[in-house]
Amino acid sequence: MTTPGEPEAPTVPHPALWAVLYRSSTPFWEAVARHELSLQRCSGCKTWLMPPRPMCPRCQSAESEWVPVSGRGKIHSWVTYPESPHPAFEAPYSVILVELDEGVRLVSNPSGIAPEELEMDMPVEVVFEDVSDDFALYKFKRAG
């Protein structure tokens, strides 16, 4: 429901909401909604599984666990969209690939870092932004 003075809700659903479609990743997003970064790891050989999947490619174990991670890492690469392909994103905006201290890489957005300030190997740490009551996104700010 729209209250007076508020902008009208966008007619195209936010891409964040697509995430819930994929079952293997549901625990990941449930943790993010609680402002926790938790990744899937093979219970057998302890290989990190990102993106999540039903089986470990190293030992073929179907048993896995969700393990909280540090949320600290470095920028491994990034791109900047000068024009937005979707109304949910205001251009220019950047997308970063973060390599966590655990060695796992996550696609995300920078928080409080302008596109021209991004640098390779810049230390970053996770922050959370609520999208709705039960959905949040993880982003990365400069490490303090």
């Binding site: 491994h76 000068p82 997308v95």
Partner: protein, 390 residues
């Protein structure tokens, strides 16, 4: 050592493209019918001779409906494969195994005007609705990494960084592609060749990729006919004999977004495929007279040159510098029809150019071209083909 069972067993004897256009205004079904009919005619075969059909998994036209329209009544082999030459590998395998005698490959799409996930968000979303690439949309879309161009740009930046490459120098690849395209009447893009200045002044698509680094979509269809090499001798066209064909996939593969593998600035599946391709063909890199690589994204051309062993890792951009090595009189004439950058992104198009080089009918003909290489699938499953004159 594995027996080289596919070497010299088959030959490409028919090729055809429909009109290629930014907006063709025709259905993919009608494009497929025209391309297949004309390729069979080009081979000097009758439709009744075709007993096998292969296509890319992403092609929308089901062989059943193609058969109903073009009159292939008694096919005994139909198969989907990955992109580009991997479908031809499937066809060559079936012929070599004695399953069928003549296979037609087709690839038809409205990539310029309609359904393709280039930089078009709606097309990307449509693909998601079809159940393709759910992982990509799960972990990338929420952050606005919505297009294949963006996915490729992430890899490109890391590649440029790791090897200390000046991004402007990548421009030689589209510059030379534009020179070839300007000479090729079939190539939709680049009526005139551009210079490096045009490249460095051009708009950023998704930084660090420029518009000129990204092959545009195109509407059109193409078809290729493959038959037994012994039968090819009596047919209408000069045969392009399949010396070698190979595929490769690797660790943590995705389509363009191979971000979980140890080194994202590499294409390990191209390396794997290339080593096998040269092994089965029984030739070396220096024996290649002309090459068509996958130039959907310009930096990936440099990466393929490295992974295929034409130059050292990190030196693919330098290999193309000033264009001297890759022009028609260079050491390795590259993408001589203008590539996907000049002709539009559709797999199979570079196979057609590879065959033209063997026939001696290219718009930028390499003198005495005897051995012709074609590779597709850079950034996803890789596949390649080596053709030779009969």
């Amino acid at each position: 050592m594995t027996e080289r069972t596919l070497k010299d067993k088959t030959a490409i004897v028919g090729i055809a493209t429909t009109d290629l256009a930014r907006d063709g205004g025709r259905t993919e079904y009608s494009l497929a019918c025209e391309a297949v009919t004309r390729a069979v005619e080009d081979a000097g075969l009758e439709m009744a001779d075709i007993d096998g059909i292969v296509k890319d998994i992403s092609d929308g036209i089901d062989p059943m409906y193609l058969q109903k329209a073009v009159g292939i009544d008694n096919a005994q082999y139909c198969s989907d494969s990955h992109w580009g030459t991997s479908a031809l590998m499937t066809g060559a395998t079936a012929i070599a195994a004695g399953i069928c005698n003549a296979v037609v490959y087709y690839r038809c799409l409205n990539g310029g005007s309609g359904r393709r996930a280039g930089n078009d968000f709606r097309a990307a979303r449509e693909m998601q609705d079809e159940g393709l690439d759910l992982l990509r949309y799960d972990f990338y879309s929420p952050f606005g990494l919505l297009t294949p161009d963006g996915l490729a740009a992430m890899t490109a930046r890391r590649y440029l960084h790791v090897h200390g490459i000046d991004a402007d120098q990548v421009g030689w690849i589209p510059v030379v592609a534009s020179e070839y395209a300007a000479k090729n009447p079939d190539a939709v893009f680049f009526d005139e060749a551009i210079g490096l200045d045009d490249y460095t002044r051009s708009a950023l698509r998704v930084d660090p990729l420029r518009d000129l680094d990204c092959a545009p979509g195109v509407d059109g269809g193409l078809a290729i006919v493959l038959t037994r090499a012994d039968r090819a001798k009596s047919l209408r066209q000069k045969a392009a004999v399949v010396m070698g064909v190979a595929q490769g996939t690797s660790t943590e593969g995705e389509l363009l977004s191979n971000y979980s593998r140890p080194d994202i600035a590499a294409l390990p599946e191209v390396r794997l495929m290339g080593e096998e391709l040269f092994r089965v063909a029984g030739i070396d890199r220096g024996d290649i007279n002309v090459a068509q690589l996958d130039d959907r994204y310009a930096p990936y051309v440099a990466m393929q040159l490295e992974e295929l062993g034409f130059c050292e890792r990190g030196s693919g951009v330098a290999f193309c510098e000033k264009g001297e090595r890759i022009r028609v009189d260079g050491d390795l004439p590259l993408n001589t029809g203008g590539g996907f950058l000049g002709g539009g992104f559709t797999y199979g198009l570079n196979v057609i150019e590879a065959v033209r080089q063997i026939r001696g009918t290219s718009s930028s003909q390499v003198e005495d071209a005897e051995i012709s290489l074609v590779v597709s699938g850079a950034g996803g499953p890789a596949d390649g083909l080596i053709l030779r004159r009969d």
